[in-house]
């Protein structure tokens, strides 16, 4: 089994998580659902930053099992947090190399290729202090890729960006999507982002995975429960443009 397969169950404070999921060996899976549904908690469990009962196998390696719990630094995982969380005492290059130097497998994702893919060349010598939000997330993404991960986790990487920064970074994410040879889990509740980037969609509600892994849903079909009013409007608009009659 080459992909990702896991289940986590347990209480985090008053919240109960009971999530079973599987990811294909390649491609981006969007993890959607209302806020507070446990998406970030699930991601933290996968990264090993939180510890609940369960099991997790990634590319044939057991990260968590009955008597196994790999600490985060022993998991070949790349994480992009909601806020870029660059290390402020290091330059852009220092951030990119921090993980690259500690990667335990040989470099399949090259430094130059990553810089090229994410357009980081003009930033490389700069300090992280005066980067724009979009630039910070691109650096964070590159930094995660250079750890040679077997699984990439992204926790709403665009949600703290303004519209202009989003528009700037999305083409890079689409390029990444085409180039990526590993599975990626992408948390978002923005339908247009999911539409542009995701091959599969998982919907989470109340700590459970509701919909099984499948292709991005057609706009205008049932399954809109988790969406905000603005997202419904955008879906309806997209449906109209595509010549469909909205029935929702």
């Amino acid at each position: 089994m080459n992909g990702v397969e896991g289940r986590f169950a347990g209480a985090l404070g008053a919240f109960r998580l009971d999530a079973e999921f599987a990811l294909a060996p390649q491609g981006i899976t969007a993890l959607s659902g209302p806020s507070g549904s446990g998406k970030t908690s699930l991601l933290r469990c996968i990264a090993g930053l939180a510890h609940l009962d369960g099991h997790l196998t990634v590319a044939g390696e057991v990260w968590q099992g009955a008597r196994v719990f790999l600490p985060p630094h022993r998991r070949m995982v790349g994480v992009v947090f909601q806020e870029a969380s660059l290390l402020p005492h290091l330059s852009v290059r220092g951030n990119l190399l921090y993980g690259a130097r500690r990667a335990r497998s040989k470099a399949e994702i090259g430094f130059d290729d990553t810089v090229e893919l994410l357009g980081l060349a003009p930033l490389i010598a700069r300090s992280t202090a005066n980067l724009s939000g979009g630039e910070r997330q691109r650096v964070a993404l590159g930094r995660a890729l250079l750890t040679q991960p077997r699984l990439l986790l992204m926790d709403e990487p665009l949600s703290s960006l303004d519209a202009a920064s989003k528009a700037e970074i999305l083409p890079y994410l689409e390029r990444l999507h085409r180039a990526l040879a590993i599975p990626a889990l992408y948390i978002s509740h923005d339908a247009s982002e999911i539409d542009r980037l995701a091959d599969h969609v998982l919907v989470m509600n109340n700590g459970r995975i509701e919909a099984p892994s499948r292709r991005a849903p057609d706009p205008g079909r049932p399954g809109l429960d988790g969406l905000s009013g603005a997202e419904r409007d955008r879906l309806a608009l997209a449906a109209l443009r595509a010549g469909l009659t909205p029935d929702a």
Partner: protein, 221 residues
């Protein structure tokens, strides 16, 4: 005169280095762990701030006296007592200045939050690796503050060093004790020179502290 200054600087320097080494893991534990008795430990480490130096000096003197159980452990090594020795003075100064080392470092660790260490872990850094390459550099302001405070506070201590050091010239006599003795024997001229030196030094230490604060404020945007 130069002898007493040298003893004082040696005491302050040694105390600063040793105390920062001990205070760092303690501050990390206080900043990170969530156990109910944590604040009891924090209160004990802060106690020297509010205890009268004579109380502290009294207990320290008892602890390093020949009959104490603590010293009994050192008897096999040929050490009978640390009272009225330079080594005893270093230990006393470390206890006396402990809160001035722990508080700024703990504050810096807490201000950093958990995220940088989580980021380092997802970038394959082991906890120890991440501590040295992320936590320490991000908290350097706390360390500089602690070092300046401990150094200056050790130079300024009087009651504790008098009680456990005894003011033996060349061994345990420091500037603050010498000034006291000079004034007692009405040698005001000499006392003036030393006292003015301490004032100037203390001013420079505080100025340095404020400048460090400003500089790191700007560096962290």
């Amino acid at each position: 005169m130069s002898e007493v200054v040298w003893t004082t600087l040696r005491l302050a320097g040694l105390t600063t280095v040793l105390l920062l080494t001990i205070a760092t893991p303690l501050a990390w534990w206080l900043a990170r762990r969530r156990v109910w008795w944590k604040e009891i430990v924090a209160a004990v480490t802060t106690l020297p701030i509010i205890l009268p130096p004579s109380v502290l000096g009294f207990y320290l003197l008892i602890a390093i006296a020949p009959q104490s159980p603590l010293m009994a452990l050192l008897h096999p090594f040929g050490i009978r007592t640390l009272a009225f020795t330079f080594e005893g003075l270093v230990i006393g100064s470390m206890v006396y200045s402990l809160p001035f080392a722990v508080q700024p470092i703990r504050g810096a660790f807490e201000a950093m939050g958990r995220r940088p260490m989580e980021v380092a872990a997802t970038l394959r850094a082991s906890p120890l690796d991440a501590f040295f390459t992320v936590a320490l550099p991000l908290s350097r302001r706390g360390f500089v503050t602690a070092a300046i405070l401990v150094f200056a506070h050790t130079i300024g201590e009087f009651g504790v060093v008098l009680m456990i050091g005894g003011g033996i010239p060349g061994k345990t006599e420091v500037i603050s004790v010498r000034i006291y003795q000079l004034v007692e024997s009405l040698q005001y001229g000499e006392a003036h020179r030393l006292a003015a030196g301490v004032v100037v030094f203390s001013f420079l230490a505080l100025l340095g502290l404020l400048l460090v604060d400003r500089r790191t404020d700007e560096a962290v945007r």
